[in-house]
Symmetry: C2
Subunit: 218 residues, 2 copies
């Protein structure tokens, strides 16, 4: 099989940001393209699941950030903990849909950009004016994005996209579907890599990353 890898993102998640830095190159290395799909994890999906956001979950919140920093170092990309509260990606995700209608590559670049603006530069990407400015910085000029973000059509389309994501089982980001197989987490990119390379998940012994470092059994 050689269809596109599906990739659900939400710029509010640091793990989604990390995935935006890796997924295109990973898929391309195996001759695959990537279909990007927006989802609103913080404001919608967690409500379906009856959960609070990870950063506000006792114990798990602190670990989650430590884990994100480790993964950022592993991917060789910057990651900065912003002190912002109440950030949401509603306008950014609606803008993605609008941009995708016009230029898919630009739409992906936009998601990479706003994700990094939040998770590297600490810029609040919630306001519509910020979203429009970030799109314009990529060259999306004169297209009526600001007007579209004020209208009902993009609102409806994003709501449908979120409903479809939930119907597809998406409960966190980044979330992938490869050849009909769901996969959650940017910590699983190595498993996605293996699957794209071999057409199957890793088997016994194939998860070992390194040779024993010596010392022998105690």
């Amino acid at each position: 099989m050689s269809g596109p890898v599906e990739f659900w993102f939400d710029p509010v998640s640091p793990f989604s940001y990390l995935a935006t830095t890796q997924i295109e190159a990973l898929a391309a290395a195996h001759g695959r393209t990537v279909t990007w799909r927006p989802v609103l994890i913080g404001v919608t999906v967690l409500k379906v699941m009856g959960l609070k956001p990870i950063p506000q979950t006792p114990l798990k919140g602190d670990y989650s950030w430590l884990d994100a920093m480790r993964l950022a170092a592993m991917f060789g990309v910057p990651l900065v903990r912003h002190g912002l509260t109440g950030v949401n990606s509603v306008a950014a995700c609606r803008a993605f849909l609008w941009l995708r209608d016009r230029d898919e590559a630009m739409a992906k670049a936009f998601v990479r950009r706003v994700s990094a603006r939040l998770w590297v530069d600490g810029v609040d990407i919630t306001p519509v004016r910020t979203v429009v400015a970030e799109a314009e910085a990529l060259g999306a000029v004169g297209g009526g994005l600001a007007e579209a973000l004020a209208g009902p059509e993009l609102k409806q389309r994003l709501a449908e996209a979120v409903d479809q994501a939930i119907a597809r089982g998406v409960f966190g980001v980044p979330f992938f579907n490869v050849d009909g197989e769901p996969l959650w987490g940017c910590d699983r990119l190595w498993m996605l890599d293996h699957r794209l390379a071999h057409g199957r998940w890793p088997g016994p012994g194939e998860w070992r990353h390194t040779e024993p470092s010596g010392g022998g059994a105690p």
Copy 2:
């Protein structure tokens, strides 16, 4: 550094079961020992976190089982979804503490055994009589385990162990601490492997598991 790897387990978790099949050999391959520590994820820790158990979480529950099956295949061990409800590991974890006082290797073997009884054979490991029988099957005879499980001391010691686990940031199982670094999840054993081999977490490029399978960039 070469201290023991700490490993928190709870037999009620399939992911904990999977870890019990791997952690000793993994650590031994790098000349490390493992200190096993009990925790009650289902009945205690999730209350601290304000979460419901993963199997009862919409969307995530179904994925979680799919993921566990993939990981079992990756480790080359059996895993069967039991249809039991209300399983808890209170008696099993108390028995572990009692066994550890007497024979640490037997205590670890006991945890491996009861974990597999639940997750391979579908045996409910909740009843005290079952726990005692499983310990006796390993050779723990005539030591007064049944009496100890009826007394207050093991109850208090397990409660303290759970409190200590929470104080150490344990919010799920399997949970590890290696050289002061917390690590959660049996899907991260490859990162633990890397850390034990190199004394650091994987860096850029080191998460790639395979060479590109060809096909080139699209």
